[in-house]
Every structure is written in structure tokens, then in C-alpha cells.
């Protein structure tokens, strides 16, 4: 057993020495390898981060949302439904929510105006999300003017800003009082944007939503799990499309790997011949070649993954964000919570290291079976 380990150590030593001797030759392959892993890892980390972010957003959202539909479009829902909903067994709470979008023409940004249910806002004041605070350079005590859709100017004193733990949730939010909200949008009394329902037993979400559908026939009932699922498949699908687009790159890389492994220089061929003549076995040569491939793979993988990590979590995934995020331009400082999973790494491993290894098996074997008496001829 010790001999086996010792043997591998010698072979690794030799491999490192021969990599060092042929730095230039391996550099091109290393660069391409790194680039490929970087692109795949960036896409994967970004997709994963966004998904996590979406989950955070949804964790705060109600288990069931009841919306009113008019001609297939989202419409306001009367508050009068609330009482009927509260009578359904299994519902812990139901409350109307007031929220809407406001386009700030001056800043060319969309804000979400909402009335919080868990706190009271003084009329004439607002609490704003961190992105808006940054964008308009506002702090507590300042005031902001919004031109309402009815072309009336409203003044809000800033009573505070929202913490920026998760930017995606609260960055673009403006919290206002109910009176201001209704006045600003001209929102009819007795109506709300939608109704949030929470359920006593999470296992009964499906049953409860079926009951709601029967009770309010023209309502659309959306559960949190539904939204989560559509987010998941959206992200997966987009990430998948990126991977498909990259399949060509993977193929090119495989051809390069094959070519590099097959196109041994005369000098390398002679070296293998010498090794075999002085007593190395075919499997020793194969082992050295695989250590070589393994070390290059490991190096490229580590470098590329680190770069991708920095790219995604410190530079906001600047290169791929448009393809994956596909929304709002409001988040210049959008940073995701760093997250790495074994699954992501294993996936990228299968898309890069495995094709590389398989592509080099035959060329490596061919090189390793050189006749040991070649150097004597």
C-alpha cells in the first residue's frame, strides 16, 4: 500500500516537473480551459444566486394570493370578499394589499408603491428602498416630489430607508400611507390590489385554494409554490439555453484537447520512449499523462471558478446578467448572497473535465504504448 502511494507521489513529482518544463505548450490549453469553465461557472453561479434571491423574495410573500380577473386581466378586487374568506376553515388570516407601480420619468426608473400592513406610515411621509435612496441621493429628513398619474404633484417627507440585506426584495419600494396611496393613484375606495391569504396548515394550501376558487368564481388563486415553480423552470430553462449555446464551445474544447494530447512533439515522444526503455510500464506512462491532465484540469478549474465567483458576487455578473436576469435596470449595486453548491460544481465538472478526460484517453494510450526498444533503433 505504501509503495502504491509512494509510486503515485513520484509520478506526480515527475508530472509537475514535466509541466514546468513545457510551460508554453500547456498555456494555450490552460487558457481555453479556464475560459470555458469561467463562462459555465458564471452562468451557473448567477442562475443559482438569482434563484436563491427569488426564494428569499417569495419566502416573505403570502402563501396564497387572490386576484380579481376582468377580461383575463388583473383587476382590483373588492374588500368585501375579505369577510367571506375569513370564514373558510383553515385560513389563518386574509388581508387586502395595496400596491402599484410608479414610473419616475425623471430617473427613468420604476418604483413599487405600497402600503405596508405591519407598520403605519404618517400621511405625507414615505419610507424608501435603498436603491431609490442611492439613485435620488435621499436620506432621512429629505423630501421627494412625485408627479402622480393624474398629473398632480405630491410631496413626501422621507421618514426612513429600508435595510438593504436583500436588495432584490426592497430596493425599489416606496412605502406610503393608505390615504396617500389612494389619493396618489386615484384608487377607488373599497377596492384593493389583491388579497393575501395565510393558511394554518401548509399541507392544506391546495385544498384551501380550491375552496377560494369556488367561493370567488372570477378570482385567480396563485399559491407561493406555483410562483416558485415557474421561477425555477424559468431560470433552469435560461441556464439550459446558455449551456446549449456553449455546447459548441465545449465541443471545440474537446477537439482541442484531443489534438493537444494526440499531437505529441518529437521530443515528448522520445522522452516516453526513454522512460519505457529504463523500466517504466505502459500504465506508469498513462498515470503520468492523467496526472498531467488532472493537474491542468484542477488548476484551470480553481482559477476559473474563483474568477467566476468574483465576477458574479463582486461585479454583479456583468457579462451575463442580461441573459439571466432579464429585468429592471434599477439595480446598479445589486449583489447576491454568495452561495456555492456541490451540485453546481459537479455539473460543471461533467461538462468540462469529463469531456476533456475522455477526449484524451485514446491519444494518451497511443502515446503510452510506444515500443520500449524505440530508443535503441
Amino acid at each position: 500500500m505504501n509503495r502504491t502511494i509512494e509510486r503515485q507521489r513520484y509520478l506526480i513529482d515527475f508530472t509537475i516537473a514535466s509541466l514546468a518544463r513545457r510551460r508554453g505548450r500547456n498555456l494555450g490549453l490552460f487558457a481555453v480551459y479556464t475560459l470555458l469553465v469561467f463562462v459555465l461557472a458564471s452562468a451557473s453561479l448567477l442562475g443559482y444566486g438569482l434563484r436563491k434571491e427569488a426564494r428569499t423574495v417569495l419566502a416573505a410573500s403570502p402563501e396564497i394570493l387572490v386576484q380579481h380577473l376582468l377580461a383575463g386581466r388583473h383587476d382590483l378586487i373588492p374588500e368585501s370578499h375579505l369577510a367571506a374568506l375569513r370564514d373558510i376553515r383553515g385560513i389563518a388570516a386574509a388581508e387586502g394589499r395595496l400596491w402599484g407601480y410608479y414610473y419616475d420619468a425623471g430617473m427613468r426608473a420604476n418604483y413599487t408603491l405600497m402600503v405596508p400592513s405591519d407598520r403605519t406610515i404618517e400621511p405625507g411621509t414615505a419610507i424608501i428602498g435603498s436603491a431609490i435612496a442611492r439613485l435620488r441621493n435621499l436620506g432621512e429628513g429629505d423630501a421627494v416630489h412625485f408627479l402622480s398619474p393624474k398629473a398632480k404633484m405630491f410631496r413626501f417627507g422621507i421618514a426612513g430607508t429600508l435595510p438593504s440585506e436583500s436588495e432584490l426584495v426592497a430596493a425599489d419600494v416606496v412605502l406610503v400611507s393608505e390615504a396617500d396611496f389612494r389619493a396618489f393613484f386615484g384608487f377607488p375606495a373599497g377596492m384593493v390590489t389583491d388579497i393575501a391569504v395565510s393558511v394554518r396548515n401548509p399541507k392544506e394550501v391546495a385544498t384551501v385554494s380550491a375552496k377560494i376558487s369556488r367561493l370567488i368564481v372570477d378570482a385567480r388563486v396563485v399559491t407561493r409554490d406555483d410562483i416558485l415553480r415557474s421561477y425555477e423552470s424559468l431560470f433552469d430553462w435560461r441556464q439550459g439555453m446558455i449551456t446549449v449555446l456553449l455546447a459548441g464551445a465545449v465541443l471545440a474544447f474537446v477537439i482541442l484537447a484531443w489534438d493537444k494530447a494526440a499531437g505529441l512533439s518529437a521530443e515528448e515522444r522520445r522522452e516516453i520512449g526513454i522512460l519505457k526503455a529504463i523500466g517504466w510500464e505502459t500504465s506508469d506512462v498513462i498515470a503520468v499523462k492523467f496526472w498531467e491532465g488532472g493537474l491542468v484540469s484542477l488548476g484551470a478549474f480553481l482559477v476559473a471558478y474563483t474568477l467566476a465567483y468574483l465576477h458574479v458576487f463582486h461585479f454583479g455578473g456583468a457579462l451575463f446578467a442580461p441573459a439571466l436576469k432579464g429585468w429592471a435596470t434599477l439595480y446598479p449595486d445589486f449583489r447576491m448572497v454568495p452561495e456555492i453548491s456541490g451540485q453546481q460544481i459537479a455539473t460543471i465538472f461533467f461538462l468540462t473535465v469529463v469531456p476533456y478526460t475522455l477526449a484524451t484517453i485514446v491519444p494518451v494510450w497511443r502515446a503510452a504504448i510506444i515500443d520500449p526498444d524505440t530508443v535503441m533503433r
Binding site: 505504501n2 509503495r3 502504491t4 502511494i5 509512494e6 509510486r7 503515485q8 507521489r9 513520484y10 509520478l11 515527475f14 516537473a17 514535466s18 518544463r21 522520445r270 522522452e271 526513454i274 522512460l275 519505457k276 526503455a277 529504463i278 523500466g279 517504466w280 510500464e281 505502459t282 500504465s283 506508469d284 515500443d371 520500449p372 526498444d373 530508443v375 535503441m376 533503433r377
Partner: protein, 230 residues
């Protein structure tokens, strides 16, 4: 050891590119017994098949026909994997152009044949140092091999051949690139190895080697056959 030969070849033939239009019959009808502890020279002009014979003797290749017996064991049909295992422990090679690997130090080159055996590193290092001292190139241990002179390179190659402590040392045209002084030195090394009990098998057409006192036996070859000897 006396009595039965250390290495016996019977009816050996070697054909390259068998069955193809460029078929070459390199050896035919070779019968040869080699004794342990002796110095044997295979002599003949280039193309006489002496190097091919050396590859068969040294388990670098298998004969196309015939039997090779090493210490009474038939090894002619053995797969390469096992021939290699035998070679690692029984034979050390000194090649005509030394075939050291450029870019590695002398010590690394010398230790190379021992890597697949996985010997403990301190032991191997000590063995390497001992050999380099014995061959008087101890001070060159950490130099890259491309800095060595011809004589030093040959000594490094000899040290490499000895690192696994083989019973047999095989040298192909060892003096082809050496002047008279270095040739004399080489013969001195051969004497030393013989005194240590090694068996030596050389190829040469150099009279300085064939006529040296240390040589026990000369086998003359021509056109892939043994034509004489003394």
C-alpha cells in the same frame, strides 16, 4: 550459478513489420548462452543485428520465434507488463546516446527508473548519491543534464542503469562517442562493476573494447546471425 546459464536464447528470430511489404528479418537462428558475472561483447558492423539481439536479451522486446530463458524461466511469451517488471529489477541500460532527459537534474535522471517501484524517498536519494560518488560525479548531482560533458553524461547514464541494483548491465555502443582517455575510463568502470559481481553485455565494433582484458567473451555477428566468437 555455475552450470546452468543465467540467460539462454534458443532458435531466436526477430522479424519487424511481419507480413507487410517492408518486412525485415533482423535476426535468425540465434542460440546463445550467457553466464552470470561475465563481460560479453556482441561485435559486428552496423546492421548485423547486435542491437536487436540486445533488446531481446534485455527484455525490451519479444522474439518473433524461439525461446528466451532467464534463470531457467521461459520469458519469451510473457506480456509486456511482466517483461517490464523483470527488466526493472534485472537489467540496467546504458544507451548509445545516453538518452538522459533534458531539463531534469542529474539526480532526477538517475532516480527515474526507480519511480515505478515506489521505493521510499530517503532510501532512493541515498542510493543515488552513493552511485554518483562512486562514479565521481557527486558534485554534479543538481546540475541539469544538458550541462554535462560527454564523459559525465555517460557516467550519469551508468548511474541511472545501476539505481535499481540490477544483476545485468547492458550497454549499446558505449564508446562510440568517446575519445581514448574516456574509453579507458569506461573500461575502468566495467572492471569495477564486474568486480562487484555484475553481468555485463555490450555491443561494440570498437577494438579498444573487444580487446580489453576485462572482456570474457566476444560474439561476432553478421546479417542477423552469430558467425563466430571467442
Amino acid at each position: 550459478m555455475t552450470g546452468s546459464p543465467f540467460l539462454a536464447l534458443q532458435g531466436i528470430a526477430k522479424i519487424y513489420n511481419e507480413g507487410r511489404h517492408n518486412e525485415v528479418r533482423a535476426l535468425a537462428d540465434i542460440d546463445l548462452d550467457l553466464e552470470a558475472g561475465k563481460v560479453t561483447v556482441l561485435m559486428g558492423p552496423s546492421g548485423s543485428g547486435k542491437t536487436t539481439l540486445l533488446t531481446l536479451v534485455g527484455c525490451l522486446a519479444r522474439p518473433s520465434a524461439g525461446r528466451v530463458t532467464l534463470e531457467g524461466r521461459d520469458i519469451s511469451g510473457m506480456p509486456e507488463r511482466f517483461l517490464t517488471a523483470i527488466r526493472q529489477r534485472t537489467f540496467g541500460f546504458v544507451f548509445q546516446r545516453f538518452n538522459l532527459i533534458p531539463g531534469l537534474t542529474v539526480a532526477d535522471n538517475v532516480m527515474l527508473p526507480a519511480y515505478p517501484l515506489g521505493r521510499p524517498h530517503p532510501e532512493l536519494k541515498a542510493r543515488c548519491r552513493e552511485l554518483l560518488e562512486m562514479l565521481r560525479i557527486g558534485d554534479r548531482a543538481d546540475a541539469p543534464v544538458q550541462w554535462l560533458s560527454g564523459g559525465e553524461a555517460q557516467r550519469a547514464a551508468i548511474a541511472r542503469a545501476l539505481v535499481n541494483d540490477p544483476a545485468v548491465v547492458i550497454a549499446d555502443e558505449p564508446t562510440a562517442n568517446l575519445d581514448t582517455a574516456l574509453t579507458a575510463e569506461f573500461i575502468g568502470v566495467v572492471e569495477m562493476l564486474k568486480a562487484q559481481g555484475k553481468t555485463l553485455i555490450l555491443t561494440s565494433h570498437d577494438p579498444r573494447i573487444c580487446d580489453a582484458a576485462v572482456v570474457d567473451r566476444v560474439v561476432e555477428m553478421r546479417d542477423g546471425r552469430i558467425v563466430g566468437g571467442r
